[in-house]
């Protein structure tokens, strides 16, 4: 979650100088054996439980393995079929729609709440604590509470509005908005804290100077606040979108992909097809494509957002 903030920072500065200082000081060409002993077990374990499954997955994506029994190589036909499969395309469509909506909402709401929490308010640390509560709750479990709310409470509370009266979770066109609500509800907790820590790095003198110059609050926000926390904005947007694209728990809690397959995300599809649909090879091919899509989207975002960031 937090790494990328640091990634950006270290790559931007620091890192190398310290490395060089260490080199001149220790002088030795090879590291002490103890250092290798510290690293090797981790590398081996990581390779065994992370890299091997990745490679095995890529390998089986070129076969027709069903998850059991015999298999043969089928070349690229899994990949070719993916692009012709309406269910797969619909899952990507849903995941992107969901992720974009949830990312925008999460960041907009978090920024507003963080700004308000950063203002001088009564009982600030109490409120900050309240807004962080969703972070410690299992999204699946609190999701079941939301599920009851959408399917039992809301129809009675808002019986005048047909959309809510008929249980929004059973509406193929609008069920996704309920999932967005739950996901945003939880994601905001962490995002608010990141924005808040960003806001606290801005020296108060800047605002004093700005208000002496007669800058109105909105002008202060666009000219001081936002440019100075844009690194945090980049991180939050990239991480939110990446996380939301892989959405799973909120869907299981609310609709389980339904009605029909209208809220089926890519992760849910891989899970279902791979474990109970006898599509092991096919869904690993899907996962490989998914990996490429996520990487491309993340890198693209970094590019765009960082270029904008560099402008100020």
């Amino acid at each position: 979650m937090t790494t990328l903030t640091e990634a950006v920072r270290t790559s931007a500065s620091g890192g190398t100088t310290r490395g060089r200082a260490t080199r001149t000081r220790t002088g030795a060409r090879r590291a002490l054996p103890a250092y290798y002993w510290m690293v090797w077990p981790a590398v081996i374990a990581f390779a065994a439980f992370h890299t091997v499954p990745v490679l095995v997955g890529i390998f089986f994506s070129f076969t027709n393995y069903a998850g059991y029994g015999d298999w043969n190589f089928v070349g690229l036909s899994n990949y070719a079929n993916l692009f012709k499969d309406d269910r797969v395309l619909a899952a990507y469509g849903f995941s992107f729609l969901f992720a974009i909506a949830a990312t925008i909402l999460t960041n907009a709401i978090s920024l507003v709440i963080a700004l308000a929490l950063n203002a001088k308010i009564k009982a600030r640390s109490f409120w900050r604590g309240v807004y962080f509560v969703p972070y410690v709750l299992a999204i699946l479990v609190i999701g079941y509470v939301f599920q009851f709310f959408f399917s039992n409470s809301l129809p009675k509370l808002l019986s005048g509005i047909p959309l809510f009266r008929d249980n929004i979770l059973t509406n193929p066109d609008w069920a996704w908005t309920a999932i967005v609500a739950l996901a945003v509800w939880q994601a905001c907790a962490f995002t608010i804290i990141i924005y808040l820590s960003g806001l606290q790095t801005i020296p108060a003198e800047l605002y004093e100077a700005a208000s002496l110059d007669g800058a109105k609050p909105w002008r202060q926000f666009t000219s001081i606040t936002f440019p100075l926390i844009s690194a945090f904005f980049t991180i939050n947007v990239v991480l939110s979108l990446k996380g939301f694209l892989q959405v799973f728990d909120p869907i299981v809690a609310l609709t389980n992909g339904g009605p029909g397959t209208s809220t089926e995300s890519v992760t849910l599809l891989i899970f279902r097809g791979g474990f109970s649909g006898g599509e092991f090879a096919y869904q690993t091919a899907n996962a490989v494509i998914f990996f490429i899509v996520i990487t491309v989207v993340s890198l693209f975002q970094f590019r765009v957002l960082q270029r904008r960031e560099a402008d100020f």
Partner: protein, 305 residues
């Protein structure tokens, strides 16, 4: 050796002093904040916090009702009389003690192993990052952050089943290993800020690299240990997808998994189900309420450096 430890504790107190000053500076503008209280912001915060509090209230109030009371209202009414029996019933039906034990075991195991392993690896990497091998390892581990879980999900399940790791021990191993990428990042940035002179003093006294790590570095890592510990704890406690695919034995079920199974079996039994949800959320929530400031500052520390 004692010299080294002394220097370490000295530095630690110095570091503490520095952070205290910084903290005062940072929070200073809060306490002697000359701004007037912003009532608009206070009102906004108070109103919006209802979105957090209402679902929690709903969870509590439904779990205290009888099914009849629930059907007759919207769910939000305070029940009269209160029905406490939902809790013992949920306790029995979900086999709560076992799920709690499994989750606690996996969480504690993951946190302990993560703290012990990630910090060692990060130390070795941070001190040798200019050497190609260590740099390579660093980026190898880091690259994994870009790999989404779905791609390893299907092969991983086969692998854990073959290795006999489709149980609590396997979960601990997986959380420890998968957390490595992120944790190393959090640790290395911090370790690089620890002056190397401190280690050299210990080395001159004849301490081995392991000894240096244990006596000098690890004690200084406490703030980062807190951060990594909190992140790992919340992850392992609340995770759903990994236990769902990896664990096969019903006796190994974690709390979220037990709720999932329960939901499938007693679909309309909302009052008992909600008692079960509350019990599943309560332990971490209670810990959080009592250590709220510490948790938030720990998480913040991990995100800005």
């Amino acid at each position: 050796m004692t010299t080294a430890t002394n220097t370490a504790s000295q530095l630690e107190s110095e570091v503490d002093a520095v952070t205290a000053v910084e903290g005062r500076k940072r929070h200073g503008d809060r306490e002697d904040d000359t701004r007037r209280v912003n009532w608009w912001a206070t009102a906004l915060i108070a109103v919006c916090s209802l979105t957090i509090l209402i679902p929690l209230y709903l969870a509590v109030v439904v779990s205290l009702k009888t099914p009849d009371q629930l059907v007759s209202g919207t769910g939000f009414e305070w029940p009269n009389p209160v029905r406490w029996e939902n809790f013992p019933e949920a306790w029995e039906r979900t086999n709560f003690p076992q799920a709690l034990f499994n989750t606690a075991l996996i969480t504690v195991g993951s946190v302990v192993f993560t703290l012990l392993t990630s910090s060692v690896v990060a130390y070795a990497l941070a001190r040798n990052i200019h050497r190609p091998f260590f740099k390579g390892v660093f980026f190898y581990l880091l690259a994994a952050l870009f790999i989404p879980f779905p791609i390893i999900m299907l092969p991983l399940v086969k692998q854990t089943a073959i290795l006999g790791l489709d149980n609590q021990a396997g979960m601990i191993i997986l959380y420890t290993i998968y957390g490595l990428s992120l944790n190393i990042f959090i640790y290395t940035a911090y370790i690089r800020s620890i002056p190397i002179e401190l280690e050299e003093a210990a080395r001159v006294d004849g301490a081995s690299t392991w000894r240096v790590f244990r006596s000098v570095i690890f004690p200084l890592l406490m703030p980062m240990n807190a951060t990594v510990g909190i992140l790992t704890c919340v992850w392992a406690w609340n995770d759903f997808i990994m236990p769902l695919v990896v664990l096969t034995d019903p006796a190994a079920r974690t709390l979220p998994l037990a709720q999932y199974v329960f939901q499938g079996q007693f679909n309309t039994d909302y009052t008992v189900a909600f008692a079960s949800y509350l019990m599943a959320m309560a332990p971490l929530l209670i810990v959080y309420i009592f250590s709220q400031r510490w948790v938030i500052s720990g998480v913040t520390r991990g995100s800005i450096k």
